[in-house]
């Protein structure tokens, strides 16, 4: 039976991770996501489920603890915010290269540099275009509610193990800090040692007499083999594109104009759609839930239907590049956004839609 | 009086001719061969029957290429 609670997004994520049967969390404090580890430490999940929670000496150490834990077939996660996620990129690249499952939460704040602690969406490129070195992709989920912060913890582990790939939950300071009601799943049991050996036969669980040793590495000095490894990674990413693209289409059936926005921007854009419809304009909202794989096909389809598209992002315009790639030059695609930690208001979005799309 | 005799077997294809075993041997049993192995190394070889099977050479061999036998003779 589901349990209804009023929680912060960060806390809901932490609680949902425990309930998803996570084995370990490794983190380092940074605003605006410190509630994740604070909640976990206060909850004593070690007593509830046996889950390990450890405050590392840095984000670098935390992501490498995730690497070590994931190498053992354990369900491990970390969370941070933008500057900390930058520090984790080396580890994330290794985890992607070694094909390990894990969940990483980024509660984005404004940048560049130390930037601000206010919410932003300026880590889209970092999240979807690589982030670290090498040709790799993360599966990126973008929650727009506290409910999704909770739901994506479990979904994240499911997808991470399905593809042996790191899953990034790209949230932002607003979703992480706001309180909403949330329905929490029942506690799932952690995998037993036998289940781990059965479900992750590749994991380093100790070499027994009846199998070859398991090695977790992203290194292959043989270029031929390294290329084959890269080809197989790319094939996996194409599989994700085929199977895992998720989006929400709101008022798109009769739309003549389209707003594309994710996360916090999608919430306020939904209000803008209501306001514009009250004015008599048929505006729809397409909310990507997965940023990789990106909902290219539906956006391409809607491009044949609408007269113009506005992307709303709390950045200088990053996702707009993927929208334009989907649309080609068929209709105008414009960007509206605020930077530096400012959340645009729905009326600003209404004005921008008029100026850039409807009247433009 | 019981006496101990020993012998070593060297995997010459894996020997890199580093010579670390040579000063380790108290009986001066080992020297580098004038011949080379498949990798071009002058490999270590046993040059006399003085081996006591003390294992010093094998213990200090970085590449673990030496196997040691020891037998008591009445």
């Amino acid at each position: 039976m589901k349990e209804l609670r009023l929680m912060k997004g960060n806390e809901a994520f932490a609680e949902a991770a425990i309930r998803a049967g996570a084995d370990g969390y490794f983190g380092y404090p940074i605003t605006p996501q410190s509630e994740v580890m604070e909640y976990l430490m206060a909850e004593k999940p070690h007593e509830r489920t046996g889950m390990v929670v450890l405050q590392a000496e840095s984000e670098v150490a935390a992501i490498n603890m995730v690497y070590g834990g994931a190498s053992c077939g354990k369900r491990v996660l970390t969370s941070s915010s933008s500057p900390g996620i930058s520090l984790k990129q080396e580890g994330i690249s290794y985890i992607a290269g070694a094909e390990l499952p894990c969940v990483i939460l980024n509660v984005v704040r404004g940048g560049p540099g130390l930037g601000t602690i206010q919410p932003s969406q300026s880590d889209y490129f970092q999240s979807t275009k690589g982030g670290g070195h090498g040709d790799y992709k993360l599966l990126v989920l973008a929650p727009s509610s506290v409910q999704e912060m909770a739901d994506f913890a479990g979904l994240g582990f499911e997808l991470a193990f399905k593809y042996r790939n790191p899953v990034l939950i790209l949230s932002d300071g607003a979703i992480g800090q706001m309180m909403e009601k949330v329905e929490l799943d029942e506690q799932k049991p952690r995998w037993t040692e036998e289940e781990i050996i059965k479900n992750t036969p590749w994991a380093t669980t100790g070499k027994t007499k009846n199998r070859e040793r398991n090695i977790i590495t992203s290194l292959d000095l043989d270029s031929g083999k390294q290329e084959l490894h890269n080809i197989s990674l790319q094939a996996k990413y194409r599989e994700m594109e085929k199977n895992e693209t998720r989006y929400e289409a709101i008022s798109c059936e009769d739309a003549e104009y389209l707003i594309v926005a994710y996360g916090t921007s999608a919430r306020l854009s939904q209000k803008a759609v209501d306001l514009l419809r009250a004015e008599g304009y048929k505006v729809g909202l397409l909310r990507p839930i997965t940023l990789f794989p990106f909902p290219t096909a539906i956006i391409a389809k809607l491009a044949d239907q609408v007269k113009g598209i506005l992307t709303v992002e709390m950045s200088a315009g990053q996702m707009i590049e993927d929208v334009r790639l989907a649309v080609g030059c068929r209709v105008k695609v414009e960007h509206f956004g605020r930077m530096g930690g400012i959340i645009p208001s729905p009326t600003e979005v209404v004005d921008a839609t008029h100026k850039k799309i409807i009247g433009g | 009086m019981a006496k101990v005799v020993g012998d070593i077997v060297i995997d010459i294809e894996k020997c890199k001719g580093c010579s670390v075993c040579i000063p380790a041997c108290p009986q001066d049993v080992i020297a580098l061969s004038k011949n080379v192995n498949g990798k071009g190394y002058n490999y270590a070889e046993s040059i006399n029957d003085e081996c006591t099977g003390c294992t010093n050479c094998a213990i200090v061999c970085p590449d673990g290429v030496i196997t040691v036998y020891r037998k008591k003779v009445e």
């Binding site: 603890m65 690497y67 007499k209 090695i215 | 890199k16 580093c18 970085p62 037998k71």
Partner: protein
């Protein structure tokens, strides 16, 4: 003597030493005379003698021993440069019943991984750290390491390490011994049979400590790098005795029972 043939001596019942099966048959990728091979072997011999192959997870570093997993016949993870203690921390926390060790060089452990090393030691993670100190970056071609001696030449200190501009060699093992989380901190070598036997005893003690959940054991092995030092293997061992040992004296630094 003369009446005993080699065939009579080379019988299975007379076997007194052979390479452990916990080392694979793959030829080691190390230079001739490099101490890494011996260090690998004594660690694997200890695991074999304790019969814990199926319970051990090793963490390989970046550096010459990056391919340790090619030679050690156990489950292994290859860490990013310097991060092995972080991996080991998580593995041990998630698998308290397993034996976990890292195998790291001086650049990995004492430069780029200083933070991970110090904090794993300070938390008293119940793991074993094997630290190979040869005073140089071997894999990348002989650059200056945190442990390079004053005046010692390397490819990035071609006129010798000038401590005024390049800093002092780091005795990280002494530093680690100060941390309350460490239970056993020792410095060993593997260039002579006696030193190998002693080093192996230290490694054994380290793993026994882990078995008893005593805390972190740290075994430094001062080693050679004849390629990086540009010497023959035997000459490099002599140079190590004359130059490395005075700065990095051998022996137990901390033994808490």
């Amino acid at each position: 003597m003369a009446n005993i043939t080699k065939e009579e001596i080379r019988k299975p019942e007379n076997l007194v030493y052979k390479k452990t099966d916990l080392l694979t048959d793959k030829a080691l990728s190390y230079c001739p005379g490099c101490g890494h091979g011996t260090a690998h072997r004594i660690v694997m011999e200890v695991l074999e003698e304790m019969d814990i192959q199926d319970k051990t997870i090793g963490i390989a570093p970046v550096g010459c021993s990056v391919l340790a997993y090619d030679f050690m016949n156990i489950d292994m993870q290859q860490a990013a440069h310097g991060r092995a203690p972080a991996l080991a921390t998580a593995v041990k926390r998630l698998h308290p019943d397993k034996f976990v060790f890292t195998y790291q060089g001086d650049g990995d452990l004492a430069a780029i991984g200083t933070a991970e090393t110090i904090h794993a030691c300070n938390r008293g993670e119940n793991i074993v750290i094997i630290f190979i100190n040869n005073g140089i970056y071997g894999m990348t071609g002989g650059q200056m390491a945190p442990t390079t001696l004053p005046g010692m030449k390397s490819s990035t200190s071609p006129y010798g390490r000038d401590v005024q501009t390049m800093g002092n060699p780091l005795r990280i093992t002494e530093l680690i011994a100060q941390l309350p989380g460490t239970i056993f901190v020792t410095r060993q070598a593997v260039h002579t049979p006696a030193h190998v036997r002693k080093a192996k005893k230290a490694v054994r003690k380290a793993f026994e400590n882990q078995k008893l959940n005593k805390g972190l054991s740290f075994v430094e092995i001062v080693s050679n790098c004849n390629s990086g030092w540009k010497m023959t293997p035997l000459k490099s061992n002599e140079w190590m005795v004359d130059n490395m040992f005075p700065y990095y004296p051998l022996g137990d630094i901390k033994v808490n029972e």
